[in-house]
C-alpha cells in the first residue's frame, strides 16, 4: 500500500440506484411476516409513573422506630459497656482490687459529674481540644499546599522528598525534650508535637490526591483553555479533595495520640495531664474518664469532618 492515496475501492457506481434498492428492501421488510404479540398498552403520563413508584415503596417507618433502629445498630458498643459494668461490679466481690483496676462505667459517670462540679472537667476538655484543633489546623494549612505543590511539580517533589522522608520516621515524642528547650512547657510546645504528628499524613495524602488526577480530565481542562492556575484550581484541587479530607481525618486521629503523649510528659492542663495526674492519685475512675472522653471527642470530630466533606463535595459518594 502506498500510504495515503485515494481509495482502491471504487464506491458503487450509482448512489441513486443504491437508494432505490434500499426502498425496495424496506418495502419487502414491511411485508415480511413478523408478528408482534405484545398487548397494546394504554399510554401513561410520566407523573402517573412517579405516583406509581411512590405507591410501590412501603411508607417510611415513624421517627421513633428509626431512632430505635439506629440505637440498635450500636448493640455491640452497648453490650460492651454493660458487660464491663457487670464484670466490674460482681468481680469486686471476688477481688476487691477490681474497683481500682477496672472501675465500672457508672463510676466513670460519677467521676465526670464530680469533676464537673469542681469546674475542671471542661477546662481539661477545652485545653486539649484547642491544642488538637490548632495543631491539625496548622498541619492542614501548611501540609495541604506542600503536598499539592509536590504533586503538581515533580521537580519540587524531588527536591523536598528526601528531607521529608528523613524527618518523617522520627517519632513526635522524640521531639519532646528539644521542643521543651525551644518553647518551654505550655501550649506552644504541645501544639508543636501534635503538629508534627498530623503533618505527614496530611502532606502525603494531599500529594497522593494531586497525583491521582485523571489525566483525561487534565487534557479536557487544557483543551477547553484552562491556564495552569485555572487547571490547578478547577481540576487538580477538586480531584485531590477526597484525599485531603482523608489526610485530615488521619491527622486528627494521630493528633489525639500525640496530644495525650505530649500532655503526659509535660503539660499544665488537658486530658492527658488529667490522666497522668489521676495515676499518681490512684484514681482509676478519672483515668478511664479521660480515656473515654478522648474516644468520644475523636468520634465527634471525625463525624464532623465527614459531614464537612459531604458539604464540600456533594458530588462525591460518602466515605
Amino acid at each position: 500500500m502506498s500510504g495515503a492515496g485515494r481509495s482502491a475501492i471504487p464506491p458503487p457506481s450509482s448512489g441513486v440506484r443504491a437508494e432505490q434498492a434500499r426502498e425496495k428492501a424496506g418495502y419487502a421488510a414491511v411485508e415480511a411476516p413478523v408478528r408482534a404479540t405484545a398487548e397494546r398498552r394504554v399510554p401513561v403520563a410520566p407523573e402517573a409513573f412517579a405516583r406509581l413508584a411512590a405507591s410501590m415503596v412501603p411508607p417510611p417507618p415513624p421517627t421513633w422506630r428509626r431512632a430505635l433502629a439506629r440505637i440498635c445498630r450500636l448493640w455491640l458498643l452497648v453490650a460492651f459497656v454493660v458487660i464491663w459494668e457487670l464484670v466490674s461490679i460482681f468481680g469486686q466481690r471476688v477481688n476487691p482490687q477490681l474497683d481500682v483496676m477496672m472501675p465500672p462505667p457508672t463510676a466513670v459517670i460519677s467521676a465526670a459529674s464530680d469533676l464537673m462540679t469542681r469546674g475542671v472537667l471542661f477546662t481539661h476538655i477545652f485545653d486539649s481540644l484547642y491544642r488538637v484543633l490548632l495543631a491539625v489546623g496548622a498541619a492542614t494549612a501548611l501540609g495541604v499546599p506542600l503536598g499539592l505543590a509536590m504533586g503538581w511539580s515533580s521537580r519540587f517533589r524531588f527536591a523536598v522528598d528526601p528531607l521529608l522522608e528523613f524527618i518523617r520516621p522520627i517519632p513526635p515524642l522524640a521531639w519532646i525534650p528539644l521542643s521543651i528547650l525551644w518553647f518551654g512547657i505550655g501550649d506552644v510546645q504541645i501544639v508543636y508535637i501534635i503538629f508534627l504528628a498530623a503533618f505527614f499524613p496530611v502532606v502525603l495524602n494531599s500529594l497522593a490526591g494531586a497525583r491521582d488526577v485523571d489525566p483525561y480530565l487534565v487534557q479536557a481542562g487544557l483543551s477547553l483553555g484552562a491556564r495552569p492556575r485555572e487547571l490547578f484550581l478547577t481540576v487538580v484541587l477538586p480531584a485531590a479533595l477526597p484525599h485531603i479530607f482523608t489526610g485530615m481525618r488521619v491527622g486528627l486521629g494521630i493528633g489525639w495520640m500525640a496530644l495525650v503523649a505530649g500532655e503526659l510528659v509535660a503539660a499544665p492542663s488537658g486530658l492527658g495531664y488529667m490522666i497522668n495526674n489521676a495515676r499518681t492519685l490512684f484514681r482509676s475512675d478519672y483515668i478511664l474518664l479521660g480515656m473515654v472522653l478522648i474516644g468520644v471527642l475523636g468520634l465527634v470530630l471525625d463525624y464532623l469532618m465527614r459531614q464537612a466533606a459531604r458539604l464540600v463535595m456533594p458530588w462525591h459518594k460518602g466515605q
Binding site: M1, G3, A4, G5, R6, S7, A8, I9, P10, P11, P12, G15, R17, A18, E19, A21, R22, A25, G26, D214, Y216, L217, Q219, A220, G221, L222, S223, L224, G225, A226, R227, E230, T234, V235, P238, A239, L241, M313, P314, W315, H316, K317
Partner: protein, 267 residues
C-alpha cells in the same frame, strides 16, 4: 484544506524506556466541514494521532497544521470529545458545559445563552443541575459533546466517543451527531474502531494499520445521507473494507475464502 498532517511520526517510550514507533509517516489533509474518520485496530495509534491534533503531545517528526499554522498547544478551535467522556465529576451538567466559556472569558449572559442553546441541542433539558455520576452513559457523552461544541470550535476531535455505549444508544447518538453536524457545520475528525460506524458517518475514512501505526488507505464514501446500514451497497462496502483491513493487518491468508475478495481489492 484546513487540517494538514505531514510526514508525522511519533515515538513513545515504554515503561522500561524502550522507544516504540507509534506513528510512522502519517499524511493526510482534511477539508473544512468534512466528516473525516480514522479507523484501525486498537493499538494502531489512533489516540496518539488525535492527541497530536489536540496539541496534548508534540510529534517526534513532521508537522501538523490547522489553517496553515503549526499546532503547538491545545486551543479552542480544536475541541475534544473523549471516549470515557472526561466530564468533571465535581461540576454539574451546566457547569461542565460552561467550563470552556468561562476559560474563554465569554460574558456571563452570553455564557448562559450558549449553555441553554447547547443543552437544547443535545436534548438534556431538565438535567441541568445533575452531576455526571447521576447520568447514563449516553447522557454523559451528550454533555461532553455539548461542552466541546460550546466553545465554538471549527474542528471537533472525537476519540471513539460511542464505543462504550450500548448499540441502541450508539446508533441514536450517531444520528444525533450527524444532525448536529448538519445544523452547525464543523470539521469532524472521528476516531473509531468500527468500520460500520465510519461508513455511516463519514465523508472520507482513513484506514490505519498497526506496528508501526500508519495510514494505509484513505477512502471516499459517496452515499447520500442518511445512510441505511441495510442498504446492500453499504453492506458490501463494509464487508470489503473489513476484509481489506484484515488482509492488511493479519496478512492475506484469511482472505481466500471470503466473498468479493478480489473484485475491488487490487490495490
Amino acid at each position: 484544506m484546513q487540517v494538514d498532517v505531514a510526514n508525522v511520526s511519533k515515538v513513545h517510550f515504554s515503561m522500561k524506556g524502550e522507544p516504540l514507533l507509534a506513528l510512522l509517516d502519517v499524511n493526510f489533509q482534511v477539508e473544512k466541514n468534512e466528516f473525516f474518520s480514522i479507523v484501525g485496530p486498537s493499538g494502531c495509534g489512533k489516540t496518539t494521532l488525535l492527541n497530536l491534533l489536540a496539541g496534548f503531545e508534540q510529534p517526534t517528526r513532521g508537522e501538523l497544521k490547522v489553517g496553515g499554522r503549526v499546532i503547538t498547544a491545545p486551543g479552542w478551535e480544536r475541541a475534544v470529545v473523549f471516549q470515557e467522556y472526561a466530564l468533571f465529576p465535581w461540576y454539574t451538567v451546566v457547569q461542565n458545559i460552561r467550563y470552556g466559556l468561562r476559560r474563554k472569558r465569554v460574558p456571563e449572559p452570553e455564557q448562559r445563552r450558549l449553555v441553554d442553546h447547547y443543552i437544547g441541542l443535545v436534548g438534556l433539558g431538565g438535567f441541568e443541575s445533575r452531576y455526571p455520576r447521576e447520568l447514563s452513559g449516553g447522557m454523559r457523552q451528550r454533555v461532553s459533546i455539548a461542552r466541546a461544541l460550546a466553545v465554538n470550535p471549527s474542528i471537533l476531535l472525537m476519540d471513539e466517543p460511542f464505543a462504550s455505549l450500548d448499540i441502541q444508544t450508539r446508533e441514536y447518538m450517531q444520528d444525533e451527531l450527524l444532525k448536529i453536524w448538519q445544523r452547525e457545520p464543523k470539521t469532524v475528525i472521528f476516531v473509531t474502531h468500527s468500520i460500520d460506524e465510519a461508513i455511516k458517518l463519514s465523508d472520507r475514512i482513513a484506514i490505519m494499520g498497526p506496528r508501526p501505526g500508519r495510514v494505509e488507505e484513505i477512502m471516499i464514501v459517496e452515499f447520500g445521507r442518511p445512510r441505511d446500514p441495510t442498504n446492500p451497497a453499504v453492506v458490501r462496502l463494509a464487508a470489503e473494507v473489513k476484509l481489506w483491513l484484515r488482509q492488511q493487518v493479519f496478512g492475506s491468508k484469511s482472505a481466500e475464502d471470503a466473498p468479493h475478495a478480489d473484485q475491488h481489492m487490487a490495490g
